[in-house]
Symmetry: C2
Subunit: 476 residues, 2 copies
Amino acid sequence: MQMTFVIFLELLPAKNGEEPTMQFLLEVVEILTSYIRKTFDRSTKVLDFHHPHQLLEGIEGFNLELSDQPESLEQILVDCRDTLKYGVRTGHPRFFNQLSTGLDIVGLAGEWLTSTANTNMFTYEIAPVFVLMEQLTLKKMREIVGWPDGEGDGIFSPGGAISNMYSVMIARYKFFPEVKTKGMAAAPRLVLFTSEHSHYSIKKASAALGFGTENLILLNTDERGRVIPDDLEAKVIEAKRKGYVPLFVTATAGTTVYGAFDPINEIADICEKYNMWLHVDGAWGGGLLMSRKHRHKLNGVERANSVTWNPHKMMGVPLQCSAILVRERVSMCLFHFPGLLQGCNSMCAGYLFQPDKQYDVTYDTGDKAIQCGRHVDIFKFWLMWKAKGTVGFEQHIDKCLDLSAYLYNKIKNREGFKMVAPKIKAMMMESGTTMVGYQPQGDKVNFFRMVISNPAATRSDIDFLVEEIERLGHDL
Amino acid sequence: MQMTFVIFLELLPAKNGEEPTMQFLLEVVEILTSYIRKTFDRSTKVLDFHHPHQLLEGIEGFNLELSDQPESLEQILVDCRDTLKYGVRTGHPRFFNQLSTGLDIVGLAGEWLTSTANTNMFTYEIAPVFVLMEQLTLKKMREIVGWPDGEGDGIFSPGGAISNMYSVMIARYKFFPEVKTKGMAAAPRLVLFTSEHSHYSIKKASAALGFGTENLILLNTDERGRVIPDDLEAKVIEAKRKGYVPLFVTATAGTTVYGAFDPINEIADICEKYNMWLHVDGAWGGGLLMSRKHRHKLNGVERANSVTWNPHKMMGVPLQCSAILVRERVSMCLFHFPGLLQGCNSMCAGYLFQPDKQYDVTYDTGDKAIQCGRHVDIFKFWLMWKAKGTVGFEQHIDKCLDLSAYLYNKIKNREGFKMVAPKIKAMMMESGTTMVGYQPQGDKVNFFRMVISNPAATRSDIDFLVEEIERLGHDL
């Protein structure tokens, strides 16, 4: 066994992709394809739950500890199998636990290619194809948002929280560009507004960027979880009366818990009236823009200054894939390729962004980002779009919304659906048959939060879930 | 063709992983393995360069535009081939252009498994194995840094720039926790210090987090690019005299351009004397900690309060893989699992981090992060560590440093090595035979920045590079 490794170390990476290493890779592929087949098989458990201490103790010989000496490739294959065995099948048709579910095979193939290419988004030079794909796809997304000719700016970021953080940074740079050089001391007391039901990343951004969470003002919502525009206006007036400067408003398109859509048009009216930046957090609900039938839920989104939209959520793209889209692309700085994002974040590092390169360096987008190296998140999404077409994404979204209506009708008059969620959830995880999240909200006690975005889920899976909740609840 | 797709759309994701989709995936694997074999073949070009407009015009039928209607799976396979064809082979033994190079097959297999598992790091619940692997690996890295029993805190983040940003945030939270709630207005004028040669992400962080780039004070370096400790102390004293509060110092372990190592021990003395946070940016040079022979370059690193270390650079782990390590893990807040990172970033979102779950929720690490969803960056690294052992990483690092000494000796007395870098670089990209970056620094004109971290590179590749530069320069 040890010998195998020694040869491996000598050969890897091999001059011509020598057989032992390529054979190893193909064996991993066999493990993965077998895993994928089972994931779509409803008789397979969603998870085989173990407590942390059980896994740490080395269950059935699965040793998580790292060691000084190498393991054989045979053992590495066993490690791969064990890793999958004790994990959670997020692509399983009965996994409803998170906003990111499903396992699209074209998207997966795209991700495998991405990791094989193993490159970085900062310059055209080392990622020519991916940089162009990102540019074209962002333009397409901006067209779908409704901005004329898809004009504007944007970037793919490592998740919706970072995309939301970008929106706050760009708004600040737009109104108070001197903060970039002089810090928050150069600005008056700035306040931000967001729904009491909005995602916690807005709060994280206000802490991280130096605004302070107390300067993030939470807006009241109606009985369906939507921001009440009058409450926003009242709070803006109140802030101004105190001498604060209202800077930024988030409208959430698809709240994390209720899936509520804030009334964007009414909020946009108020933002225009008081000269505030409007950000639409469509991390979850942005996918509805692909559906002619359902996009009305985001009416007014084209009036936003920026939009977060995560294809890795409702559109079923593998993790991670999140875009921040910006309407404005004006010259705010003296650098060679202007735009708000660029102006906000650029530092013109000489070792990456040489203006004397032999190609058109406006394609070197790295200096827009708060990151330096940036993972290639675009390819899997581009490839899925090619394979499905815009109409394919539309069909998927429409199907999810149909299923969601089906579930609503099924349980609305059903008796006994006010139960102790944590206990049933625990039993569900032990049995491993299905998986759904729960939580409290405001004065409401724990309830299940049902997420429907998995392309593999059907009505029979909804039926199963409801029956499973009843069955487990019955034993309490 | 169109029919193929229609069937595909119906079948995908298929109940039992139906054959057409799995067959497609296996065909992609064939494309990828053939690409990998060629990558290690020195007779293959590093890149086949085209200008942006050429690719956008649809060279040889490669159409980057997205459309409404789906493409056939056959066409998707062609798209995959074209994407690789017009890309850059970052794993090629003669690619020296970036700090991230190489293509480790075990790491690649790990990344393929990661995307198949398609899960998220925020909770133990949906990533039990990966969460534990992260915990164990971070502990091991802290041990290697030299903190007793590997105690402390940390997280994997989407790249070194974000890791560095974390360090500034945590330092601010440690000394001025009220900034989290009240914003930068609650703190005095805070100043940060870093080398004039440090990575631009420190500047990006000071802009983003509300300090302002003017409050980042650049330190002079000696002839080898290392911070001069006396200059730091003089600037700290000067800042205090003006009434500013010195908060944070970065020592760079491996600068981006010269690969210089700042004298950590001397800088640590000054940090202790003036009660400042010491961050070591070892994004590039952290890998040297794996080598008993070379780790002395980071002497004093154990005195740092935080360390950035990117296994995706010198250790050859596929992108992205960056860790921020924190020495202190003390109770700074009232939440159920304390620690500086947690205190700094936690918002206690009820829908994810329910304290009434049935398992030990101290493993739900998501609330530490500025992200919500977080990509699984740990598995490929863990798997490589298993396969190589600590000793394998050590061998790799030692080999890189040997090669680097070889190059140094080879060119130090060679005539004619003061040339016009951009022109040669352009010719090099056109010919596609090798790839190395260039840049100016301070008053120095453009020069080549030679990166050695690719495990596939040998002395013959160094010889080739030097000869190629001479050959291309000769034609000027």
